[in-house]
């Protein structure tokens, strides 16, 4: 018997995610059994299995994404841009620089 990790894709737009494991003596049995262990309630549209021994965890997962400041390449580094937009628009309008031509929408 071996442990076979089972992966599911919830809908066609979703990535494959880990949902659990089955104990089975070989691949054929693992595929047959994974169906009813994890998919009998219609939980996914795709099913993959892999030997646990073939899957490996990275060392120090808490350091994933780095530990020094990386906000320059993440959304949280740019939260001020909305406010900046408002401030710059209002400043340039008051300096008479903005071009007020007809435009859709408004």
């Amino acid at each position: 018997m071996e442990v076979w990790e089972v992966f599911s894709r919830r809908t066609n737009d979703d990535p494959l995610v880990h949902v659990g494991a089955v104990s089975a003596p070989d691949l054929e049995m693992a595929l047959v059994l994974a169906r009813e262990t994890f998919f009998r309630h219609g939980e996914g549209v795709d099913c993959w299995v892999g030997r646990r021994g073939d899957l490996h965890r990275v060392a120090n997962p808490e350091t994933l994404g780095g530990v020094t400041d990386k906000t320059y390449r993440r959304a949280e580094g740019y939260t001020g841009v909305g406010a900046k937009l408002k401030r710059v628009h209002s400043e340039l309008a008051s300096r008479g620089i903005a071009i007020d031509n007809p435009r859709p929408g408004r």
Binding site: A24, P25, M29, V32, E36
Partner: protein
């Protein structure tokens, strides 16, 4: 076309599915391999669900509800094959019966896809999708046990030899078979489907070196099947003789049956001693409270 004949066909298949589904569902909760418990339970539910779908069509002909048909008929009105009512025994017998039943059902369903009975043909196309997975499962266990350790192979092959003659009764002709063939409701007669099935099973068994399962039925004279237990040696003239299945032989590299069925078995409502307790357990609560909602 007599709607009675069509009703008879629907009920025979539905009863097969219900009774075998009932037996398989008895494994839920204590199969000695947890993941397999889950797989077998889904198969059992599928069979009961297929029965329900067939009873739904039958109810449009007969009147009443699917539950009336499934749980409200007298014992002698059920027309399933004897193999379905046998107790599960151990997992070797269960796996053997599962393989024999699902391979036979596959032959039957394939034939019915071209039935002139439109509603049945449409339903059958859907049932075959689920039955494919039942077959995959049955074949996986067939290979595992037949090619397994000594005791597994022995138990499994003994179980196959025991179950094979009773599985043949799945193809016992219905009383109205001629009429059903004449109008295309039944595209193939029972004997022709039996032949196709024996070919498949014979081939599968030879692949794993278990010809002896077929040979066991060939050596004995045609098997006397059922009913058993009463011990009566004098049989009244009007009551039908028990069903006897054909013998088998290997001819030109294939396994074939050597004669037709004789007597009357499950398809005429004649069941073994195992059906009475099953029927009682399955229907008692439903019958005890007529008209109640649950």
């Amino acid at each position: 076309m007599s709607s009675d004949a069509r009703l008879g066909l629907l009920l025979a298949i539905a009863d097969d599915e219900l009774v075998i589904g009932h037996r398989l569902s008895e494994w839920t909760g204590w199969v000695p391999y947890v993941e397999e418990d889950l797989a077998m339970s889904s198969i059992a539910q599928d069979e009961i669900g297929h029965a329900r779908a067939l009873y739904e069509i039958a109810a449009t002909i007969n009147g009443g509800t699917p539950d009336d048909l499934a749980l409200g008929r007298a014992m002698a009105d059920y027309t399933h094959a004897v193999i379905c009512e046998r107790p599960n025994r151990d997992y070797a017998y269960t796996a053997a019966r599962h393989y024999l039943y699902d391979t036979a059902d596959a032959v039957r369903l394939e034939a019915l896809t071209s039935s002139t009975f439109k509603e049945l043909a449409e339903l059958v196309r859907v049932l075959r999708i689920e039955e494919r997975y039942h077959l995959d499962h049955a074949r996986t266990w067939f290979r595992r046990l037949a090619s397994g350790p000594v005791e597994a192979r022995q138990r499994f092959s003994d179980a196959l030899a025991d179950a094979l003659p009773e599985a043949m009764t799945i193809f016992e002709p219905l009383p109205d078979e001629d009429a059903l063939i004449a109008d295309g409701t039944l595209p193939k007669p029972g004997e022709e489907m039996l032949a196709a099935w024996l070919d498949v099973v014979g081939h599968d068994l030879e692949e794993v070196g278990l010809e002896r399962v077929m040979e066991a039925d060939a050596e004995a004279p045609v098997g006397e099947v059922l009913p058993t237990s009463s011990g009566a040696s004098e049989v009244a003239d009007e009551s039908p003789r028990p069903l006897r299945v054909p013998g088998l032989e290997r001819r030109d590299g294939r396994w074939v049956h050597t004669a037709g069925f004789s007597g009357a078995g499950g398809r005429s409502g004649h069941h073994s001693e195992d059906f009475a307790p099953l029927w009682e357990e399955m229907t008692a609560l439903h019958r005890a409270h007529p008209g109640a909602r649950w």
